[in-house]
Symmetry: D5
Subunit: 156 residues, 10 copies
C-alpha cells in the first residue's frame, strides 16, 4: 500500500456531482438507474452512506468513475455534520423550523406515543411538489420509527 | 405602569403547560377547543407565536389564567432558538437528520424547483402516526411554499 | 444610595413596551409624540441609546413610568448584541443577507469610495413599505457616512 | 471523470477577481457587460449564486477563463457564511447595525406588516452614493418581499 | 392557575438529593425502595426522566416532598445536556474515552452489526465494582439495542 | 533530514484502513494477528496510541505498508478529539448517554467508591453482541480503575 | 454570618455609577476627590480592582454607600472579561484595532525590545482629547513595562 | 422537605470568603486551624471538594456559619470549570503556560515515564515564595502520580 | 487567466517577512525606505492594507519580490482577525487590557465626548520606547477621531 | 525571493522531532547538547520560541537539517495555543487542574503577594520524577516572577 493520500468521501461526492452535471443526468434519473430512493441516493453519493458494491458498480458504469472514487463510495462514512453548511439558506430553514417548532413536535410525540423519540436511523425522507393557489410547495415527509425509552438489557 | 418584572413568554408557557396537566387536558384536545392545528397550538402556547386575542380568550377560559399570562400570550415573540434544548434527544434527532440529509434535500429542491428555498414562514407542520410491521412510526410532514431566488425591487 | 438592584435598560425596555401595548400606542405614534425618527425611537426605548432627559420626560408623560424606568432610559447603554436574539427569523434574515451579500457590498463600497467603511455610528435607518404586483415589500434603507481609512493623528 | 480535485466556487471567485483586476475592469462595468445588477453580479461571480450558462459565457468571453472556472460559476452554491469574514471592518459594521437596531427593525416590521419577515430570497440590494455637507454617504437599500407567517398546506 | 414560577426538574432534583442526604438514604437503597434500577433511579430523580405517578408517590412517601416537587418529578423532561457539567472530572473521563476510543467503537460496531448505531433510547446502564490486584475498578456496562440504518416508511 | 512533510498519524490510519479493506481483513482478524485486544487495535492503528515496534512490524508484514506509515504508527500521538466526528450518529449516541446519565453515573461512583473518578488511562473497553427477543444488542463494557482524590506528594 | 446573598462587585459598580449620576458627579471629578488616575478610578469602582480601604472610605463619604457596597469595593476581583460587552461598539473598536494591527504591534515590539511582551499588569492607561482640523480625537495611551522572555528560577 | 431553593456550593463559598474577611482570617491561618493543606483548603471551601463533616464543623465553629452553608460544604461538588473565570489575568497566566509549554511537558513526561499522564486526582499543589535578585517569585509545585496507559480489566 | 491558485495576502506577508529577514532589514528601516509610518508599514506588508502601486514598487525594488507577491500586496484585503493569533502572549495582553479597562475607557470617552466611539478607521497607532527606573516601557498610542452617534441621512 | 511557501515553525517542529527519533536522541540528551533547559529546549524546537542562531547551529549540526528548517527555528513565533491539542489527555490534566484549583491558587497568590500575577514570561518550568510508595510521581515546578498590579508610566 503506497502512502499516497486517501480520497475522502466528500471529495468523491464533489467529483460525482460534477460528472453527473457533465452528463446532463438529474439526481432523480440517477436514482432510477441505481433503483434507490432519491433522497437516499443523493445523500449516499455525496458521502453520507456506505454504498453497497453492486450499487457502486451501477454508478461507476453510468458516470465512468476512477477506482479511488468507487473505493470512497463503498467506505463506511463518518457522518459528521459540517456546521458551515448549516448556514446555507436552503438548509438553514430546516434548522430554523426545528428551533421554532421543535418543542411542539416533542410535546406532541410524547403525547401520542409516550416518552421516546422518532428514530433518525430507521427513517426515510421524501421530497414532493405540492400545489397551492399561492404557489407551489415543497413537501418534506420524515417518516421514522417511534422508539420508546426502554430500560432493556441483553439476556444471557 | 409599575416597574415590576414583565412575565416572559417562555415562563408563561411553563405555567400554561402545568395548568393543562392539572386539568388533564391533552394538547390535541386543547387545539380542538381553540380550533387551531395541533403543532401551531403547542408552539404558540409555549411562546413561539403571538396568540390572537380571541384565541387567547379561549385559552384563558379553559385554563383559568392570570392577566399577565394572557398578556404574555398575545405579545409578539422573539423566536430565539435556545441551543441547550437542541440536545434533547427527541429534538436532536431532527437536527441530526438535517445534518445527514440536508445537502440531499438541498440538491433535490434545487433540481425540482430551481434555486431557492422552502419557506419556514409560509409553512405548516403536522405529526401523524404511521403503521409498519416493525412498529408504529412518527410521520412529520413539513409543507412550505417554495420561494425562488428573485432579484425584485419595489415599484414606484 | 441603597444597595437595591439597579433596573437594567433592557428590562426597562420590556416595561415600556408593555405600557405602550396597554395604551394601544403604536411605536410610530410614540415616535411622532417624542418627535424622533421611528427606528431611533424603538431602539432607544428598548435600551440601545441614551435617551436625552427632555425626550425621556415626554415618554414618561405619555406612558406614566416609574422613576427607575426613566433613570434607566437616560443611562448610557452597553450596546451588547445578544446572540440568542440573532436567531429570531425576522432578525436572522438580515444577518443571512450580510452573510450572502457582505463580500459584494464590501467590493462595491471599495470600488466606489476607496478603502474604508460605511459608518455604523453616523448612520440612520428607515423602514418603508414598497409595493409590487407579487406582494408588498419591506424597504430598509441604511444610510451611513463613508469613512476612508486615514492614518491621521492629533496635532499639537 | 478523473479524480482530480474539483475547483471550488470561492477559489474560482478569487481567480475571477484577479482576472478582472488585471484587465482594469471595475465590477460596475462588468455588471453592465453581463447586464445584471451590480450587487448580484459581484455576489454571483464571487461564488454566492449559480450563474446561468449564457451569463457565464459573457464572463468567460470578457475575462478569458478556463473551463473549470466556468463550471464552478454555473454550479449551485452552498451559500455558507464564513464567520471569519464577518470580522472584516467593512462587513462587520453591517452586523453591528443589526445587533444594535435589529430589535427595532423587527418591532417596526411587525407593526407595519404584522407577524412575519422580510424575505432574504425575494430580495434585492443596491449600493448608492449619497451626499451630505459632512461628507459623502453610503446608501444601502435592502428591498425584500414581506412574508407573513401563514399556516398553509398543499392542496390535493 | 397562579402565575407563580413553575419549579424546574433540575431544581427539584437538588431538593430531592438534599432530602435524601438528610435522611441518610443512599441512592442504592432509594432505588430498592422504589423498585427501579439504580442508574435509572438517580437519573430520573435528578430530572432526566418523567417519573410515573406511582413511583413518584413512593419517593414522596419516603422523602416527604412538597407538591411542586412531585409535579416536577412526573413532568416530561427536556433532556438538555448542560455543557458546564461535562468538565466535572468524574464525568469528563467518559467524554474523553469517547474522544479517544469513539472511532474504534464505531468501526467495531459496523464490522459486527453492519451500518447503524447502538440505541441510546432502548438502552440500560449499570455500574459495578470490579476487583484487580492493582486496586478496585469501576465497571460501566452500556447495553443498547443495535439499530441498523433502514430506509423504511409507514405503510398505508 | 529533508523538509518534506511528515505523515500524520490520522492520515496513516486512513491508509491502513484502506489497505485492510483491500485485503478483505476484518479489524477483529487483524487484532488476532497482532495479538492485541480489538478496541485497542483499532484505536491504535487509527492513530490514538503509539504502536510498539514489534507490533508495528506485524502490521507492516500483514498489510505491506510504506516506511513513513510505520514511522507514524510508532510515534507518540496527540490524542486530540476532533469535535466534528462527535456528531457522527454512531459516536454521538455515546456522548448523548453521558449527557443524560453522566450525573447519575457520577453520583453512583461517589456513593460506591467515594470521591474520585474512573480512570480513562488505566482502562479497557470491549464491544460484545448481546441477544434479546426484540433484537440483538451492543454491549460496551468500560472497565477503569477507580482513582480516589488523594492529596499526596512525592517523598524525599 | 447569615447566608444571605453576597453582593457582587459588578452589581456594586452599577449602584455606584447610579449614585454618581444622581449627585451629578463626573468620573473625572470623582477621580480627583479620591486622588487616583481617572482610568484606574472608573475600572476600580466598576469592579475591576480591589479598592484600598481608605480610598473606599472616600468613595463612601462622597456617595453615601451601604456597607455591602463598600465590602464589595474592597474585595479582590475576578477580572473576568464578559464577552457580551465586547460587542459594544465603543469597546469593540479597540478589539478590532488589535485584530487589524496586533501582528504589527507584535513585530515592532519584538524588533525594538526583543522577544517578550508589554505588561498588562505593570501598566497604566490614559485617555486624552486631541485636536485635528477634521474633528477632535481620542488619544489612548497604553504604557506598560516591557517584559523579556526570561528563563529564571528562584534561588535557594 | 420544603421546596425552598438549595444553596449552591459556589454561593456558599462566597459567604465563607466574606465571613473570613470580616474576621480578618487569612486562608493560610484558616488552613492551619482546620489542619489541611492551604491549596486544598481554599479549593474545598470555595466549593471544589466535599468537606468531611468534622472539618466542616471546625470551619463552622471558626466562622459561625448557617446550617445551609455547612450542608453545601459537605455536599459532593460538580467540579465544573467556569470558562469566564479563566480570563482573570492571575488564572489565565497558568492556562497560557499550558498553551505554550503543554506540548513540551507532554513530550518530556512521555520520554521519562512512557505513555501516560500525570494524575489530576492523585495530585497535590503547593504555592511558595521564591527569592531572586530581580524580585520575589511564585513557585507552584504540581505533584501528581504518573499513570501509565494500561489496558487492564477487572478479574473475576 | 489560468486557474492556478491565487496567492493570498497573508501568505505573501510571510514571504515578505522572510525576504526582509534574509536581507537583514528591520521593519523600521523598511518603513523609512517606503516613507510610511512603521505600524502602517508592518500591517500593510503582512496583508492588512491594500498597498498603493508606487509603494508596492518600492517594496519590490528593495526585496526583489515575484509578480504574484506584488499583486497580493496591492489587492484589497479582507481584514479578518484570526482568533488563533489572539492567544499569542504579546497580542493577548492587549485584548486583556481591553477586557479589564474597556468599560472604563468607554465611560471616560462618553463623559468627555458624549455618546459615540473612537474611530478604528480614521486612526493611527505608534509604538515608542519609554524609560522608567524599574525598566524600559512600551508606549502604544492609539489616536482615533471621535465619532458621535449621529442620525444623519443623505440629502437629495 | 521566490513565492514558494514558507515553512511554518510547527511543521519544522515535526521534522525535527522525526529527525531526533531517527537518530535515537532523547529530548533530554538534545537539551544537554545545546546546553539549554529541557522544557525550554522542547518548546523551542517544537516552534514556541525563537531559537538563537548559535543554538540553531548546534541543532542543525546534530540533526542534519535543511536550510528552511533552520530559518523556521530562528523565526519569531506566533505562540498561538491550538485548542485541539488541549484535549490530549496528558495536556488536558493540566487545564483541569487549573479549572479545579485556579481560584485557590489565585486566592493564595493574592494573600501572600498582594494583587498581581505570576509572570508567564519571566518564568521557568521543570519536570522531575518524584517517588512515593504508591508509585512514581511527576513533579512539575512552575517558577514565575510575581508582578504586582502597578499603575506606572514612562518618565520623561
Amino acid at each position: 500500500m503506497s502512502s499516497s493520500a486517501v480520497l475522502g468521501k466528500q471529495e468523491a461526492g464533489l467529483i460525482i456531482d460534477e460528472a453527473r452535471r457533465e452528463r446532463g443526468l438529474t439526481w432523480d434519473r440517477l436514482a432510477e438507474i441505481i433503483e434507490q430512493p432519491p433522497v437516499w441516493t443523493v445523500a449516499a453519493l455525496l458521502g453520507m452512506h456506505p454504498v453497497p458494491e453492486p450499487v457502486a458498480g451501477l454508478v461507476r458504469a453510468e458516470l465512468g468513475l476512477d477506482d479511488d472514487v468507487v473505493k470512497a463510495l463503498t467506505r463506511q462514512p463518518v457522518r459528521a455534520a459540517t456546521t458551515d453548511i448549516s448556514t446555507d439558506p436552503t438548509i438553514y430553514r430546516f434548522h430554523e423550523l426545528i428551533g421554532v417548532y421543535g418543542p411542539a413536535l416533542k410535546a406532541l410525540i410524547h403525547e401520542e406515543f409516550g416518552d421516546g423519540i422518532m428514530s433518525a436511523i430507521n427513517c426515510s425522507i421524501s421530497v414532493d411538489r405540492g400545489t397551492h393557489p399561492d404557489g407551489d410547495r415543497v413537501k418534506v415527509t420524515i417518516d421514522g420509527k417511534f422508539l420508546p425509552y426502554a430500560w432493556n438489557a441483553s439476556e444471557d
